[in-house]
């Protein structure tokens, strides 16, 4: 007999689950997991939101840039790290690799913007969507060909790259309340650094001021003597570079990993985060990444530990999108309450 009319066995398991979930150690580890997910969502969505905010271009090739970043980062690690490489060296190589990946992807982004997207700015958005979607197909296929040529299975995660992590990130870290994945802490740190860096760029530099002004009114910005076309190229390159850096980070995470399908796996949540936050606003993207990441972590815990429906957490991410679009079609940003969540 239950108030909700549930099967007593199910009701009991839900009550047990709730008890387990509310334990400090569970809450803490779910929180860490959620923040790590938020950090990754933020990393993959930041470039997308900067580009959309300034240029109004929905870059469907964004996920492919992340995927290429993952492979390129993995390649750098695999080529330089061997079984006996110490942890510190692995981490150092990773950071050097980040700069390489950022540079290569930024250059690729710049070429795509100048060569392909620039001629289409005066056309309706559908042209840019079709173009960037086409770029995605081309890039994904190219990577598939290259990986197959080198006998790397393109659909499965690249295990050799996964194995280049320092053991710091594979061993659990005891934080008192609970022990968590070392990589999760690294990812959170990465997310925080990204937020601070992008915020400082937008709010503390002359270029950031130009980007914010251009996002509001690019014609007026141009009429103040600013070469907005060049700013477009720089921001597209920057967005592509950040996408690549995100990919390099994902290459180490067994939940993601370097693979060709990573392009689509990252593009969809990136779109969700960008739309939930409000198209083109960085602050909204940060909040949305937090909401989506934490919701994902909470539901993942419930669906793994209490209700055995392991495919559902992914649905939740899209359920949030649907909910936000119904309640607040312009995204959460602008709602005063967002800051309170």
């Amino acid at each position: 007999m239950t108030a909700l009319g549930l099967d007593p066995v199910v009701a009991q398991s839900l009550v047990d689950g709730l008890g387990q979930f509310l334990r400090p150690s569970t809450l803490f580890s779910v929180l860490v997991d959620g923040l790590a997910k938020s950090a990754l969502f933020l990393m993959i969505a930041t470039g997308l939101t900067l580009i959309f905010g300034l240029m109004g271009v929905l870059n469907f090739a964004h996920g492919s840039l992340t995927m290429i970043g993952a492979y390129l980062g993995g390649l750098i690690m695999v080529l330089t790290v061997s079984q006996g490489t110490p942890n510190g060296t692995r981490l150092a190589v990773f950071f050097v690799g980040l700069f390489v990946v950022f540079g290569v992807l930024a250059a690729l982004g710049g070429v795509i913007e100048v060569g392909l997207i620039r001629p289409l700015y005066d056309r309706p958005p559908i042209y840019q969507i079709l173009l960037t979607f086409g770029v995605t197909l081309v890039l994904d296929e190219l990577v598939r060909i290259v990986t197959l040529f080198y006998d790397i299975q393109p659909v499965a995660d690249w295990q050799a790259a996964l194995g280049t992590k320092p053991t710091w990130f594979t061993d659990p870290v005891d934080l008192g309340l609970a022990s968590v994945r070392g990589l999760a802490l690294f990812e959170i740190l990465f997310g925080v650094v990204t937020v601070v860096a992008v915020w400082a760029f937008l709010n503390r530099t002359r270029y950031g001021l130009v980007v914010r002004a251009g996002s509001e009114d690019s014609e007026m910005t141009e009429a103040l003597g600013i070469d907005v076309r060049r700013v477009f190229t720089v921001v597209f390159a920057l967005g592509a570079g950040i996408a690549g850096v995100a990919g390099m980070l994902l290459m180490w995470d067994k939940n993601w990993g370097a693979s060709v399908p990573l392009a689509a796996e990252t593009l969809l949540p990136a779109f969700v985060v960008v739309i939930v936050g409000g198209l083109g606003t960085f602050r909204g993207t940060v909040y949305a990444a937090l909401i989506v990441g934490l919701a994902d972590a909470v539901t993942t815990w419930w669906f793994i530990n209490v209700v055995d429906l392991t495919f559902l957490p992914e649905v939740v991410v899209f359920a949030i999108l649907v909910l936000v679009l119904v309640v607040k079609p312009r995204g959460l940003f602008g709602l005063a309450e967002v800051g309170g969540h």
Binding site: L209, E222, R229
Partner: protein, 252 residues
């Protein structure tokens, strides 16, 4: 790159252009929006130091003339010379960086940027933003009080002040001012008129204005536009706002 200041000093003495060249010379300009022919051979000239009004009914091409000068809507035919240099073929930011400021219709503030940031963004590379901000606040003390407010939170009159302040930044010597009194209460219009008069001390102005008495008050000369062509021009001195012919062209 020569600084804005240098350019300003140069302009005071003999300029690089031919001595009889006006500051701005628009000659037989044809501008289209898509297939519709908006300017059908507009010609006008603005001399250094003048304030020139561009008047006419809605839709006769006043704003398009300003947009053509800025190359926001580049003309298909004709010539626009600024200090003797051809502007047609340049990009908008290149025109602007030659000292041409735009104070557009509906002001077009960056609503999410603060008042200070709205001025800062207009400071050219290598310029001194703090000096520009100080100068703007000196000219428009009302803005100083709201310096950290978002421009979107300002009243219409304050936004118009900010637009004028922003237009003057970078020691712009030539201002294209579009409908500055539109949508403002009469007592605020007087403030805006004062602000434009103050700006006219520093810069040459081409002013689009529907409010005929205001336009005649501020300007030295006028051009009357109808159907994409200049149909009348002259000094504002001898023109009464009740002028029959003007009334006929201006009434809808």
């Amino acid at each position: 790159m020569s600084s804005e200041r240098d350019r300003r000093e140069r302009s005071g003495s003999a300029s690089a252009a031919a001595p009889d060249d006006p500051l701005l010379a628009v000659e037989d300009v044809h501008t289209y929006y898509g297939e519709s022919h908006i300017l059908e051979g507009v010609s006008l000239a603005v001399e250094e130091g003048e304030t020139v009004a561009l008047i006419g009914r809605n839709g006769v091409g006043k704003t398009t003339t300003l947009r053509s000068v800025l190359q926001l809507t580049p003309p298909r035919r004709g010539s626009i010379r600024y200090r003797g240099e051809e502007l047609v073929g340049l990009r908008t930011h290149e025109v602007a960086s030659r000292g041409v400021g735009w104070i557009p219709e509906e002001r077009r503030m960056f609503a999410e940027l603060t008042v200070t940031e709205n001025i800062r963004i207009a400071v050219p590379k290598g310029g001194d933003p703090e000096a520009a901000i100080d100068r703007a606040f000196e000219t428009f003390p009302a803005l100083d009080e709201r310096s950290d407010a978002k421009a979107g939170a300002l009243s219409g009159g304050q936004q118009q002040m900010l637009a004028i302040a922003r237009g003057l930044v970078g020691d712009n010597e030539f201002l294209l001012v579009d409908e500055p009194s539109e949508g403002l209460a009469p007592q605020i219009v007087a403030d805006v008129a004062d602000a434009i008069a103050a700006a006219a001390e520093e810069a040459t102005i081409l002013l689009v204005e529907q409010n005929l008495p205001l336009a005649m008050d501020l300007a030295d000369r006028f051009y009357l536009l109808d159907n994409g062509q200049v149909v009348k021009e002259g000094s504002t001195e001898n023109v009464s706002p009740d002028d029959e012919e003007l009334r006929r062209y201006l009434s809808a």
